[in-house]
């Protein structure tokens, strides 16, 4: 098997992976860095982020505000020491991007502009029109091209982490172009593989967000943390799930039910604010979990509007005017017209909640280190946790930068501590044999598309905005069954070159593992907190569940779920107040 030796191998070249790679290249130019990605870096899903990235920069704002917004927004499930580190590093990282040339939108005086975002008390979201993630990704990618020590392996699909003597010693990956397995013999590995929204049928997530990074770590013995917390974004286009950024509401857009009522006032987020004058942390600028849940109730009351693609509400931006919409939300206008045939300048746009973001992920400490020596994780695939039970919009892009860099620093420190056992060859051979068996298997009775559909249905039905013990039990049974049946799939395509049938089969394997961790963790959490709402346990239960869940892989059976205390330093659990009454 062809072998590549590296000091650090990074799986994933989205925002988190690129940030890590640049940090490594800058601090130790002689380091051999392998940047491995199943798509070209600029195709990574960070490109889809629209709204912006949060970091305190303006004089009327403070780190304390950002801290409180994040911790309260996360329903007190965030680790407060991690949040402190995050908010302190955030401005530095966003300025670093500015110094690398990111085209942030500007104020008249030439300083960076910030915009309001849901759940944030002050305006602190840096943005580049409504293509913020796109510009961050391309700025990082293009910046990375000046470092010869970053060796890229584009369109390489990582299949296994290699673990020997209790350390991570590399990985295997399929070169898509040849179909050949490659062995990456690496002294340390950083996973930056992104989210897993594709477990659900209706999502803002691109095709590549299949939870591979999470599954890689999970199977290698690192637990997945807080997987039951799946964020629904309130405003996706009903036809395709395409996101209309929260900045629509930040700029003053409002949500209406079929009677034209701004219904959020009926769910503790009122009183109604004047049209076109959004008030921070109130009404449409409440947090995503609350807004999505409010829609669910409206739907039950019969107040949703019916569309060909199911129930929806209306996002009304008409009062912003054509000029503002074109300047600040050009992509939103373009997509509404293209995919829904509705121009937000003249008509309200139908939208509905859509699966968007994984709060949970690979359990890491505040230094982005996992429990497996030599393995680090950052970005959406990781759970530090700063996002707790509900991420605030625009904290994620910043998190990629802060913890992408942190993972690089930690990996360097690990290398400096010295050697590691040689080897991994036998493990790489075994990984290769497993994939070969899958490709060559005959007599299989299951298909990738078939199992995927059943998985998505189960997730949509039982692991959505509101959940019940009964539904979750059914989902647990279903996922156990699907994982069994997965072992009997047979590929239609048994060739080597760019075999997407194989790729999708492997991705399905990742999603099934992640999905089982989601439903098992959700079944075990008998309370309602943030994005995890149980009809049978409607209240938050701090006595029992002010704790992170940890799902540990257990081979063929379901994961073992255990708990770990949340780090509380100075903000005791309180009431999340998004009414106009808050000071």
């Amino acid at each position: 098997m062809e072998t590549h030796s590296a000091d650090v191998a990074i799986i994933g070249a989205g925002g988190a992976g690129l940030r890590a790679a640049i940090a490594l290249a800058q601090s130790a130019p002689s380091l051999r860095i392998a940047l491995i990605s199943k798509v070209y870096p600029m195709r990574s899903h960070t490109c889809a982020a629209e709204g912006g990235a949060a970091g305190v920069i303006k004089p009327d704002d403070s780190l304390e505000h950002h801290f409180n917004d994040t911790v309260g927004g996360g329903d007190w499930l965030s680790d407060q020491d991690a949040v402190d580190y995050f908010i302190r590093e955030a401005p530095t990282e966003l300025l670093q991007l500015e110094h690398w040339g990111c085209p942030w939108s500007r104020e008249a005086d030439g300083s960076v502009a910030v915009r309001p975002f849901g759940g944030m008390k002050k305006q602190r979201t840096w943005f580049a029109a409504d293509k913020s993630g796109f510009h961050i990704l391309h700025t990082l990618f293009q910046t990375s091209l000046q470092f010869p020590s970053i060796q890229r392996f584009d369109e390489f699909y990582a299949t296994d982490l290699l673990v020997e003597d209790g350390r991570c010693v590399g990985l295997t990956a399929i070169e898509m172009r040849s179909g050949q397995m490659r062995w990456f013999d690496a002294r340390a590995v950083i996973i930056a593989g992104g989210g897993a929204g594709r477990m659900f049928p209706f999502t803002t997530n691109g095709a590549i967000k299949t939870g591979d990074g999470m599954a890689l770590a999970y199977r290698a013995g690192v637990p997945l943390k807080d997987m039951e917390f799946v964020q629904y974004h309130p405003t996706g286009l009903p036809s395709t799930g395409t996101l209309l950024t929260e900045a629509c509401r930040g700029e003053g857009g409002v949500l209406l039910n079929k009677n034209g009522r701004r219904f959020l006032q009926d769910y503790g987020m009122g009183p109604e604010t004047p049209l076109g004058k959004p008030v921070l942390k109130t009404m449409e600028l409440g947090p995503r979990d609350r807004v999505s849940q409010a829609f669910w109730h409206e739907q039950r009351k019969g107040n949703a509007i019916a569309t060909r693609w199911g129930d929806a509400m209306l996002l009304d931006m008409r009062h912003l005017g054509e000029k503002t919409i074109n300047e600040r939300l050009p992509l939103v206008r373009d997509m509404s017209i293209s995919y829904m045939g509705v121009d937000p300048v003249t008509d309200p746009v139908p939208v509905r909640p859509v699966v968007h973001y994984m709060m949970g992920g690979i359990h890491t400490d505040i230094n982005a280190a996992t429990s497996l020596p030599g393995l680090y994780a950052a970005g959406e695939c990781a759970c530090v946790s700063i996002n707790g039970a509900n991420r605030l919009g625009s904290n994620s892009l910043t998190e990629l930068l802060v913890f992408g860099r942190r993972a690089a620093v930690s990996a360097l420190e690990y290398l400096q501590q010295g050697g590691r056992p040689a080897g991994g060859a036998a493990l790489a051979e075994a990984a290769q044999a497993r994939v070969r068996e899958l490709v060559q298997r005959t007599g299989g009775t299951e298909s990738v598309a078939g199992l995927r559909k059943e998985m998505m249905q189960a997730m949509e039905e039982h692991a959505g905005i509101y959940r019940s013990g009964e539904g979750l039990a059914a989902a647990c049974a279903k996922l156990g069954e699907l994982r069994q049946r997965y072992r009997r799939i047979e590929l239609h395509d048994k060739t080597n070159v760019y075999n997407t049938d194989l790729l999708q089969a492997l991705e399905l394997g990742s999603m099934l593992d992640c999905a089982e961790a989601v439903v098992q963790s959700a079944a075990a959490r008998k309370e309602s907190r943030g994005a995890h709402q149980r009809l049978d346990f409607p209240g938050r239960d701090d006595r029992q569940f002010l704790r992170h869940s940890l799902a540990a892989y257990a081979g063929e059976g379901p994961p073992r779920v255990s708990y770990r205390d949340v780090v509380i330093t100075r903000s005791p659990p309180g009431v999340r107040d998004y009414s106009g009454g808050h000071e």
């Binding site: 500015e98 040339g101 942030w104 500007r106 293509k131 796109f134 293009q142 000046q146 293209s338 999708q504």
Partner: protein, 244 residues
């Protein structure tokens, strides 16, 4: 609901001597794009079909292909705009890796050559941003919008004839950095840009700007690069005293 005839170019280097077309009859929703139809084929008719896609919102740049002979993003090619048979082929001017998947190594290498990163003019301010007014931002903003989708390369007759040509997107991106008020790297990029295979290769057909889904206007960038290079030449040769 409408039944759409898709005619898709297939090529697997391991099993096919040469490319051929395969027909699929696909039941489609009215509002679908070509990508939705391909996904439907992949899921229900033929799992062996290979193509790239991810975001389905015209920003990742993966799904460029020829649709009825024109370079398009499959996620933005609406079926309603194609009444008859829809012929789908890999992007022109690129080697085919398999089916609709092309090899884009050439562009990726060229992009690196034009130094598409900030070469700062001044030292970055301590704990603060470089100031840049909205007007200064506007000078280059359009050229930052390139999603590297390669449609312009597929449309460019020059690139078809002379593969060494830097091509529209790489030039537009180099130009983007040259026009950034924070940047001082124009001289460093000029060598690639002003070379024969740089901007001068372009015979100004303008096809690149016509097909660009992001309205980057690479043709405009190329024209500006040419004008600036000409000014450079005059300054260096005829008025050497004016050169800073």
């Amino acid at each position: 609901m409408r039944q759409v005839e898709l005619e898709v170019l297939r090529y697997n280097p391991e099993t096919d001597r040469e490319p051929h077309f395969q027909r699929y009859a696909v039941d489609c929703q009215e509002e679908w794009v070509v990508l939705d139809a391909l996904n439907h084929v992949k899921e229900t008719l033929d799992p062996t079909l290979s193509y790239r896609w991810s975001c389905h919102m015209a920003v990742c740049g993966s799904c460029g292909m020829m649709v009825n002979g024109e370079p398009k993003l499959a996620c933005k090619a609406f079926l309603r705009d194609y009444p008859g048979v829809i012929r789908v082929e890999p992007l022109r001017h690129f080697p085919v890796e398999r089916d609709l998947v092309t090899v884009i190594d050439d562009f990726v290498a060229k992009l690196a050559r034009v130094k598409p990163y900030l070469i700062p003019k001044d030292k970055a301010p301590e704990a603060a941003e470089f100031r840049q007014t909205p007007a200064q931002l506007k000078r280059y903003k359009q050229f930052t919008l390139c999603i590297n989708c390669m449609l312009c390369y597929a449309a460019c007759p020059e690139y078809g004839l002379i593969p060494k040509y830097l091509g529209p997107a790489a030039i537009a991106l180099a130009h983007r950095w040259n026009r950034d008020s924070r940047d001082g790297g124009r001289d460093a990029r000029q060598e690639e840009l002003a070379a024969t295979e740089g901007a001068w290769e372009c015979s100004f057909v303008g096809a690149c700007s016509e097909v660009c889904p992001e309205h980057v206007d690479p043709a405009g960038a190329i024209q500006q690069v040419k004008i600036e290079s000409t000014v450079d030449w005059y300054q260096a040769h005829l008025m050497p005293w004016t050169k800073k």
